[in-house]
Symmetry: C2
Subunit: 483 residues, 2 copies
């Protein structure tokens, strides 16, 4: 089995192979001008200036296309208004996408914090480490959403092809003719802009997806899980150092609910309580909250402090967790969805951003392969990406159960050991699920198929082992009896 | 096992039981005034004047509430503008709902056409009858959608409590405060109306559901199947008689696709071709269409005539088939979805209308039980109906496979015989799936559970039978050898 199977493993022409591999090695900068010349120049309208939208702007600009980004919020670089804040965990898919716009180093080496594994916290304060990749030492990187969005916007803005429009809300889109109707939220005027390619990178509550939903043959589902979350903060400890290991993703698994904490650059942690709404509903007073934390997370309570916990907790309302699947990702002749607009997922596999960035890598590969022929690019993008996106949405749901419940089970721990040993001896054949998702670009569907195959092999292996041991036992017994 | 388990089997107070049973026996008319007196009078705004909306208007008016119906189309009684036309098949759930507004007789005895079973047409013209209920003789009734909608609107309009507003499009709704913003499509003015209870009966592409979708914790999926349909017509035959049996639902099952035909009052049939879009895409010329019909439906081609087939077929575009599930059915403090707005389904179990009408029966029971306390009524409606609606959506998907494929399989036919025999001998214990869906008010979830239980019993029964037969064979063989 191939170790790294690209999600966008399309049959590319020899020229494209050379280019793609060159891009991988050197970054875009040396190649961009030669690439754009030969292609039809488009006006690309990107709806949403979040992480995926800003990255898409960089990629399309580098192809020489003219890019307009429409973001309904103000410029976050000036106003620091970001709402979402669960820290992000950057891994291979996201890193590859950032590498091509020369931002990988800033994120991984300068501002990312390597997390080499999970650190599980028992109720009694006992710690248990679970290394993500003890064979190759791969890590995931805790990065700050605001910082990442800022440097992506800066990178996009540097390009002469890109125009960023803030306070610009899309009120309508003609996805066949290619037209966006934009409301300027400062002076309340609307304007219509002709666009060759509309990219809906406008997040889980996407306006572009709502326009798609009016079309026949567009399938879509939005599912809220019955759990919500509340964000909390663990201040830095003595001498402004981390109060726990700064190189782990900390988890307090409690079966039905959990807390997690990711390290920040200032040596604090951003923590989140994930729990069923019915559990959160019971925590309505300071007393009930403190009692709950004393019982469930005593070590965490000591680190946060009762006063801060109460203040932070009751300042916020529990937020919801949505999972969105849709198919296809393109509609009309000129519109496409990427990132959360196409596949918002619960955050438990830390793949929302990584998968969104990988969308842009795939889209860029297809623009190259089909020489910017939108007809082919858009339908191929749906064909290659929709089922894969559905797979990572499902994996993200599964990982919540793994994180809050399975990690404490003996059968799970035993299986992890087996995986680690086999991965060590046959590293290209036996890759654990977590590694295929985070440390390869294997398509998400294949990650699931690979895990199922492993389950089957192990099941049969155990059956054979059982049979052999029984046979040995019977033979020894017979021998004893005959002797 | 109870034979008929009501989908809305809630625990009702003794008073309610007496009333409900009286309603069942005598119709609403004798009871209505006494019922309304004791209840809080509401202004009910029904969005959509289709089948379910018009029925809901009758029910709420009979409770003494003030009812406004907003329909974006013109009055179909004057303009005959109806778009949808697949004939409807009325069965127990729908009949019970119509009985309470004294319309059952008009539909069933005066204008409905009893269909006692399926008539399967082979390629060679061979016919095979499959009676729906050979034990009790239950039928389903082919009714005309336009006629049914007209008499429901007439019944609603007769009530002084009801005001019908046509050409009135809902552009916004405040589902907490209870407010509808209505655009008069004739004079292009908008008005705001205060409403105590907003009922979204506005079909598969519901505006009210779209407003729900903006709220957190509203789950929703829309799935288009990869098959479409085209409506055709079979004219009446000699002496203006039916050209085939007028008491069957005719099916031409061809595995991947099928045609069906339902009898009309004028002795014509309304027929529909259901097929994958890729099959329909191949029928682009008169020649290919006629060749296809000659190969697949030669008897039907003879009845329709080549010229009429070509004309009717190419006058139309294939239509799509959507399945919509959502949860909960209520949002905010004052809004609820019913009918297709809550659970649009593919038409293959003929339960879209029946289930929509049953929604109104349930809603009415709950208004009675909770004395019009919306807080309780709305949440209980979701609790009792959402999973059931999901079940009938799934059953409708399954029945497409049964109708176009399974009905020709020997294993299916054998199972039908077993079901019929068992139903005959233990009619209250063994009720085939089709009968539970069409001829009872068993909750749809229970219909599925009942079928699974039967599958299990039969599987075990067959296993036991096999074992006994093997034992007998072995014993006989041993005896022969010993003799």
């Amino acid at each position: 089995m191939e170790r790294v199977v690209n999600a966008c493993s399309i049959h590319i022409r020899f020229k494209s192979i050379v280019k793609a591999s060159a891009v991988k090695q050197k970054g875009f900068s040396e190649l961009e001008d030669t690439m754009a010349d030969s292609e039809h120049k488009l006006h690309v309208g990107i709806v949403g200036g979040g992480l995926v939208g800003a990255l898409a702007a960089c990629y399309f600009a580098k192809r020489g296309h003219s890019v307009s980004v429409y973001e309904y919020r103000s410029d976050i670089r000036k106003e620091k208004l970001m709402g979402q804040s669960i820290d992000l965990a950057l891994s291979t898919r996201g890193r590859e996408a950032l590498r091509a716009v020369d931002l990988e180093d800033a994120l991984v080496n300068q501002h990312g914090i390597a997390m080499r594994g999970r650190m599980l916290h028992g109720k009694n304060g006992r710690l248990k480490e679970m290394i993500y990749d003890s064979v190759k030492g791969n890590c995931i990187y805790s990065v700050n959403r605001q910082y990442l969005n800022e440097i992506l916007l800066n990178a996009a803005e540097k390009r002469p092809e890109v125009k960023l429009h803030f306070n610009s809300k899309i009120v309508d889109a003609d996805i066949d003719q290619g037209k966006l109707t934009i409301l300027n939220m400062k002076n309340h005027t609307t304007e219509e802009v002709n666009i060759d390619l509309i990219i809906g990178a406008d997040g889980a509550y996407s306006t572009i997806r709502k326009i798609f939903m009016k079309r026949p043959l567009f399938n879509c589902s939005q599912i809220y899980i019955e759990h919500g979350y509340i964000e909390l903060f663990i201040p830095s400890g003595k001498n402004n150092e981390f109060s726990m290991s700064g190189n782990h993703l900390h988890i307090w698994p409690r079966d039905d609910f959990m807390m997690i904490a990711l390290p920040n650059e200032d040596h604090s942690f951003t923590a989140n309580l994930f729990a069923p709404f019915k559990t959160l509903d019971k925590l309505k007073t300071s007393e009930s909250l403190i009692k709950f934390y004393k019982e469930q997370f005593p070590d965490l309570l000591a680190l946060i402090g009762q006063e801060k916990l109460v203040k932070d907790y009751f300042e916020r309302q529990p937020k919801t967790l949505i999972s969105i699947k849709c198919k296809p990702f393109h509609m009309g002749k000129r519109a496409i969805l990427v990132g959360d607009a196409a596949h918002a997922m619960v955050p438990f596999y830390a793949q929302g951003m990584n998968a969104g960035f990988e969308d842009i890598l795939l889209l860029d590969n297809l623009m190259e392969k089909y020489n910017s022929n939108l007809n082919e690019v858009l339908s191929k993008f749906s064909e290659l990406r929709c089922n894969d996106a559905e797979a990572i949405c499902d994996l993200a749901m599964y990982n919540y159960i793994e994180m809050r419940h399975l990690v404490t089970k003996k059968s799970f721990i035993f299986r992890r050991h087996v995986d680690t040993i086999l991965h060590k001896f046959i590293p290209n054949t036996w890759i654990p699920l977590y590694s295929t998702v985070h440390f390869s670009r294997m398509s998400f569907q294949e990650c699931i198929a690979n895990k199922k195959w492993q389950d089957k092999v192990l099941q049969r292996g155990l059956w054979c082992l059982g049979t052999v041991l029984t046979a040995i036992f019977v033979l020894s017994f017979t021998k004893i009896n005959f002797e």
